[in-house]
């Protein structure tokens, strides 16, 4: 019984302060994989799909005969959108369930919360969501986009003739670290490109904000200064639907004021009526509408697994897909699931993207990925209007003066450094 050790653990915990006998026996006939995504609470809306994706990927791998001759066994827990609980559950996965690697987290807070645990217990986290960068850790593989793989190309696109030659910028954001950092990078970037400060407006709203009347009106007003105006939205999760509903109703057309978002994908669009949002943009490394044989096969088998051909796919799913397959490849290469061996093996490995080309694990534990700009269509999908060559993920943004010349190099996981000053050859972060 695979659940037995957990029950044993449960009983021991349940007895709380009594000192119960505690000697779980682990049958070593499977390789366990931890899945650490919120299934309840505010983040369930985004993370549940990733849990399903992980179960799907693991099932697919097992069909192919598993890994190192063993079957993979998913261990799913619910950290309930509660950041300290993320740390606790991560510890449980690693220490009690002895998982070989963990796939999980969505918000930066949850990642920051589990980081010390992964460092302490030396395990691997595959983090599948676009994030603010400014981080590179030995124990984390970042398979989502760094700012230079999403934000900067999106702004470049809007600045280009083809994207509408935007001159005036609204950075509309939810007040947390990812938008703060992204906006900091973008603000610097725009200024470097010669955008005067009065043509940049930054606005923060709280999580789950639902009454966007004033903000949307302010965007309209800002856009009436006679220069082509664009909105860069780092609005998070729940707040997006009311934002776009208000946008559509107040009649902001993409031809007049395009909104480019970094957190709105197929999943989010599924909850809104997009007929009046046609043309608004999103920047990702993957869209469901990408027309490649890999993607078609992926979508088909996903629909088969989930038994619902309406279920969308999205960028974090591709990131999870890449992360999982790269891990599988690394384990096969290393011949073991041992953390340090896998980390050593994984740097430099490549795996085909669903969008064509390959994703390579860089020494800074980020991936190379192409950047795609898509326009929202009436059917809730995106039309790709621009696609770059694969861009290497940059942990420390070159745009920010304080990060100039900072690199991360984990080629050798034992002596690597996450914050290497290439000028002085010193490693800023203490291990």
């Amino acid at each position: 019984m695979t659940r037995l050790p957990r029950i044993a653990a449960g009983l021991a915990l349940g007895a709380a302060m009594t000192m119960g006998a505690f000697a779980p026996v682990f049958a070593q006939d499977t390789i366990k994989v931890g899945v650490l995504h919120s299934l309840s609470g505010t983040m369930a809306i985004s993370e549940t799909t990733l849990k399903d994706t992980m179960l799907f990927l693991i099932a697919e791998q097992n069909k192919k005969g598993g890994l190192l001759g063993k079957q993979l066994e998913p261990v799913v827990v619910d950290p309930a959108s509660d950041w300290p609980l993320f740390a606790e559950k991560a510890r449980e996965l690693i220490a009690v369930d002895k998982v070989a690697a963990v796939f999980g987290c969505w918000t930066s807070s949850s990642r920051k919360s589990v980081l010390p645990v992964f460092k302490e217990l030396n395990s691997i986290l595959f983090y599948p969501v676009q994030y603010e960068g400014e981080e590179s850790e030995k124990n984390v593989i970042y398979t989502g986009a760094a700012p230079n793989q999403q934000a900067i190309p999106a702004v470049d696109y809007l600045m280009s003739e083809e994207g509408g030659a935007v001159k005036r910028w609204v950075l509309e954001a939810t007040d947390y670290v990812y938008p703060r950092t992204t906006n900091k990078i973008l603000e610097q970037y725009l200024k470097d490109k010669g955008v005067p400060p009065e043509d940049i407006k930054i606005n923060y709203t709280p999580f789950g904000f639902s009454d966007w009347q004033t903000e949307v009106a302010a965007i309209k007003e800002f856009g009436s200064a006679g220069k082509k105006t664009g909105v860069v939205s780092t609005i998070n999760g729940d707040a997006n639907v009311p934002f776009y509903k208000e946008l559509a109703n107040q009649g902001i057309k993409a031809e007049d004021i395009p909104v480019v978002a970094f957190s709105v994908g197929e999943e989010e669009l599924a909850g809104m009526d997009t007929t009046n949002l046609v043309g608004h943009l999103a920047a990702w490394n993957y869209f469901q509408s990408v027309d490649t044989p890999e993607n078609t096969a992926f979508i088909d088998s996903w629909h088969g697994f989930i038994a619902n051909d309406k279920r969308t796919t999205n960028d974090p799913m591709e990131a999870a897909y890449l992360g999982f397959n790269l891990w599988v490849a690394a384990v096969e290469k290393a011949g073991t699931t041992d953390t340090d061996a896998v980390l050593k093996a994984i740097v430099g490995l490549s795996y085909p993207n669903l969008t064509g080309g390959t994703a390579t694990v860089l020494p800074n534990h980020h991936l190379t990925k192409p950047v795609l700009i898509g326009e929202v269509q009436a059917d809730g999908q995106f039309d790709i209007v621009s696609q770059t060559e694969p861009v290497p993920g940059d942990a420390w943004s070159d745009v920010l003066p304080e990060d100039k010349g900072i690199e991360a190099d984990w080629t050798d996981p034992l002596t690597g450094c996450g914050h290497l000053d290439t000028a002085t050859k010193t490693c800023g972060a203490a291990p």
Partner: protein, 393 residues
């Protein structure tokens, strides 16, 4: 007076609880550190901070019980005091990182470098000293409780109204702390701690020590609460809980007494929060969530309010259950939790301890002898008072 208080604190039940806690404070580190791995009683490393976390939750529940169970003040914002204590501790821990942060800034924590702070905000000064942080852990929750309580109790905001504005308080704090402009790290909060008092927070010995500290702090809180509820002040508090205006007509300044209980409770909650943070390794605004405060109420109700041991048992059991079931039934545990709350309110209104007590007291002959009150310390004054149905409104 002091001796009397100490004597009072040491009633039979309290002594039992305190000894159990002290025993645990020794036994858990022993089982973790001394017993070799593979020994049947060896406790794995990960369990120590987990149990420590439960203890701090139990302490929070005890704090709430002092005002709710004994004084009839249903605070739906108690997690705010817990979080404030936690933040004070978190700020100390952040300052301890020093130049070991990613950006190697000797003064500014990473997130400040990140957000372009040029210098430390004034309210971060002093937190590099443990004594200062310790002082703030006590003072900040106490000050908030004092100001809030002073206003609310003086204006005689009671019952549901009080509950709702305590909720508004913690909600406002939640929103405020989410703001990155406030200078507390926004949504991510404070994390990635390195040292506490020079010891590595991740070392097993430090963890064991923190666990022991939590157990001892809880024991101390039990003593303080027992001393209060066994004193005449405790009787007045219960009187206020059961018939507030009657107590006024007896000449008691109900607002002052409530304020006292509220502040003491906030301090206990703050200390609990301060012990919580180094053990879980993060403090963020999520702790201010009104839902968290409601959960604390539920732990207390499950264990048995108006008793000292009840909230401790409730806090431990519910949280241990949560740990187990979020892993065991990730998709269904909320049903179990929700069901538990409904079940307890319907069928065990006095909570676990209250129900057990009524079970036992039925067998015992009624007490006839109420001997000299002078010997309060040695006498069997019930820690467990019967809550009156409907008395809180």
């Amino acid at each position: 007076m002091i001796t009397q208080l100490v004597l009072r604190a040491l009633d039979r039940r309290a002594v039992w609880v305190v000894s159990a806690l002290l025993l645990v404070a020794l036994a858990i580190p022993f089982a973790n550190l001394v017993l070799p791995e593979g020994h049947p009683l060896h406790l794995p490393n990960y369990a120590v901070p987990l149990f420590g976390k439960y203890l701090t939750y139990a302490m929070l529940a005890l704090a709430l019980d002092l005002v709710w169970g004994y004084c009839g003040i249903l605070s739906l914002g108690h997690a705010a005091f817990f979080a404030l204590g936690g933040y004070a501790m978190g700020m100390y821990l952040m300052r301890q990182i020093g130049a070991r942060g990613v950006y190697a800034n000797p003064v500014l924590p990473d997130f400040m470098v990140f957000l372009n702070y040029k210098e430390l905000p004034w309210f971060w000064n002093g937190f590099d000293q443990f004594w200062f942080a310790a002082l703030m852990i006590v003072l900040v929750p106490a000050a908030l409780a004092f100001v809030f309580g002073f206003l609310a109790f003086r204006s005689r905001v009671t019952g549901v109204y009080l509950s709702i504005i305590t909720q508004a308080m913690t909600y406002a704090l939640l929103l405020a702390f989410f703001r990155n402009d406030l200078g507390f790290g926004g949504n991510n909060g404070l994390t990635d701690f390195k040292d506490i008092l020079g010891f590595n927070v991740q070392a097993t010995t430090t963890r064991a020590a923190l666990f022991a500290a939590s157990a001892i702090a809880l024991a101390f809180a039990v003593l303080v609460c027992t001393a209060i509820v066994n004193s005449k002040l405790g009787k007045v508090m219960i009187a206020i809980r059961d018939a507030e205006s009657r107590t006024r007509f007896l000449g008691y300044r109900v607002d002052n007494i409530k304020l006292f209980a509220f502040v003491v409770s906030a301090v206990i909650a703050g200390i609990a929060g301060a012990l919580y943070v180094p053990q879980v390794g993060i403090i963020n605004p999520g702790e201010f969530d009104p839902g968290n405060s409601i959960e604390v109420v539920i732990w207390t109700a499950v264990g048995g309010r108006g008793t000292i041991i009840g909230p401790i048992i409730g806090g431990l059991l519910v949280n241990a259950g949560k740990s187990v079931f979020t892993g065991l039934w990730p998709d269904y545990w909320l049903y179990a939790l929700g069901g538990l709350f409904v079940f307890v309110t319907l069928f065990m209104p006095k909570g676990i301890v209250g129900s057990l007590r009524s079970l036992f007291s039925r067998r015992k002959p009624p007490r006839q002898d109420n001997s000299e009150p002078l010997e309060t310390g040695a006498k069997d004054i019930p820690i467990i008072a019967e809550p009156q149905p409907g008395a809180a409104e």
